[in-house]
């Protein structure tokens, strides 16, 4: 049986994440992989990886609680691929008491670190493990301010840390699901397969 991946489908750019995983599976020749939307705790059964998409972190946080998904995601034993709002949710600490973080990655995250939508930007950034720069889209993006010793920093720009890895988990300020470049997804999946 191939790799089974889920995308948390409560709010945000869910379909873009499903397509992002599917694109990466095609590039890697994993024809028997499957990607499903996750809305209930039982949808997590048998999954190797879970994406937490971009959206509004206050909204998604509320819906995680309402749908009884907090404990199941906090205790999920696969890899988590978190972008933008997802990065806020997997952190340990955040500058907003309304967001109940999952505490999966030891880091402090600042929401909307660049400001409002007019400060949203795209740029080529260096990502550890990638040979060429990656074109990244930052939309009302968060950054990580402090990360624990067990957390590997994959990308940092003058404003702060924008990509990290801890074990099988990855968290990103930007949106690799929006452009067509599958390299970040591939990086996440390769890590899952090698089981580190």
């Amino acid at each position: 049986m191939g790799v089974r991946l889920g995308v948390l489908a409560l709010q945000g750019d869910v379909s873009e994440h499903i397509q992002g995983f599917e694109r990466a599976l095609r590039v890697m020749g994993e024809a028997d992989g499957a990607v499903i939307p996750v809305r209930k705790p039982r949808d997590l059964e048998g999954l190797h990886g879970l994406a937490i998409p971009g959206g509004e972190s206050t909204t998604i946080s509320r819906l995680i609680g309402k749908n009884g998904l907090f404990e199941p995601i906090a205790g999920f034993d696969g890899g988590i691929f978190a972008t933008c709002a997802g990065m806020v949710l997997v952190a340990d600490r955040v500058d907003d008491p309304r967001v109940r973080t999952l505490g999966l990655i030891d880091m402090a995250v600042q929401r909307n670190a660049f400001g409002r939508q007019r400060e949203s930007f795209e740029a080529d950034i260096e990502v550890r493990g990638l040979e060429r720069p990656y074109h990244a889209y930052f939309i009302r993006a968060p950054v990580a301010r402090e990360v624990g010793n067990s957390v590997e920093v994959l990308a940092e720009i003058p404003a702060g840390i924008v990509a990290v890895r801890k074990g099988q988990h990855m968290a990103l300020s930007f949106h690799p699901e929006l452009g067509g470049d599958p390299r970040i997804h591939v990086m996440f999946l390769e890590h899952l397969f090698t089981g580190k």
Binding site: L10, D13, C84, G115, Q117, D124
Partner: protein, 298 residues
């Protein structure tokens, strides 16, 4: 990263912003307190207004962009995105909102149009726009002008979902009807719809609008919101329906949950219990032609 190579306000950043709103509820608010209630209830964004559409109807006269002081007060009160409305064609009101740092501009038929010939050239702005549409031709004309998000117009301030349903059915039905047609047939239809042919071809190929499509104009209950989601909306705008109901806090939460569980009637039943009085509403057929907002700007 080279700082001089940062790019702002691109098409992808505008459409990407709209994508982050999917599956969400955007609520009309007129002050900081309402904005906080909306955010706590789980709104993905708020629309900052001087009056909700039902009150704009009652007040009559010329409806314009809200006082910047009210918009700034709301921007200070919440961390979620703040949108605001400008009159159709009024690009100076749009420049003002852009300078305030509003996250998305709604070029809206709810306000009195400033230009009866042209909409705003939205590509000239770095802030994303949402525009209303009643049918596929109108939606694609707005996207061609640079709209990053479409919302079906419905009939704002009536609390009556019938027009929102009609407009969503128009758009989704037209896209379905064009599936399997040849490029020539689609191009010919584009002329009838007064839509750019390339955009229509792209839409038919994708089987949906190329930008996020929300529903608006008359949504007053959790069931209304779920109805629009089941018909294919990516999310909903709720205007007068929340703060004109008997218990705004409870109504706001209930609509957020109904959108989240739009295909689960048990959950919608549960959240619909004891909501108190929804807004009274207006039978659209009793409106005079000049009171119908959806005819503005085509």
């Amino acid at each position: 990263m080279k700082l001089e190579e940062l790019r702002f306000g691109t098409e992808l950043l505008k459409r990407g912003f709209a994508s982050m709103q999917k599956g969400g509820v955007i609520m009309d608010v007129v002050n900081a307190e309402q904005a906080r209630i909306a955010e706590d209830a789980g709104a993905v964004a708020v629309m900052a207004l001087e009056r909700v559409p039902a009150d704009i109807r009652k007040a009559g006269g010329v409806a314009r962009m809200a006082d910047p002081a009210i918009i700034l007060e709301i921007m200070d009160a919440v961390s979620i995105p703040v949108m605001a409305k400008v009159r159709i064609g009024h690009f100076v009101e749009a420049q003002i909102l852009e300078s305030l740092g509003v996250d998305m501009i709604d070029e809206s038929e709810v306000l009195t149009p400033a230009d009866e010939e042209y909409h705003i050239d939205k590509k000239a702005f770095s802030v994303p726009f949402v525009c209303g549409a009643r049918d596929l031709g109108e939606a694609l004309r707005r996207i061609h002008e640079g709209a990053a998000m479409i919302r079906t117009k419905g009939e704002a301030g009536t609390g009556n979902v019938v027009e929102a349903v009609r407009h969503m059915r128009n758009i989704m039905g037209e896209i379905r009807a064009l599936q399997g047609k040849t490029p020539q047939e689609i191009t010919s239809r584009a002329r009838e719809l007064e839509a750019p042919p390339d955009l229509l071809l792209e839409t038919v190929k994708m089987g949906r609008l190329p930008v996020v499509n929300f529903s608006a104009g008359g949504i007053a209950t959790p069931a209304d919101a779920a109805l629009m989601m089941q018909m294919g909306a990516d999310g909903v705008f709720v205007g007068s329906g929340i703060f004109h109901s008997g218990n705004p806090e409870k109504m706001a939460r209930a609509i957020v949950e109904a959108v989240n569980h739009y295909d689960d009637p048990k959950v919608i039943a549960e959240v619909s219990k004891g909501l108190g009085q929804p807004m009274k509403g207006i039978d659209v057929h009793t409106l005079r032609e000049d009171e119908v907002l959806q005819y503005r700007g085509r």
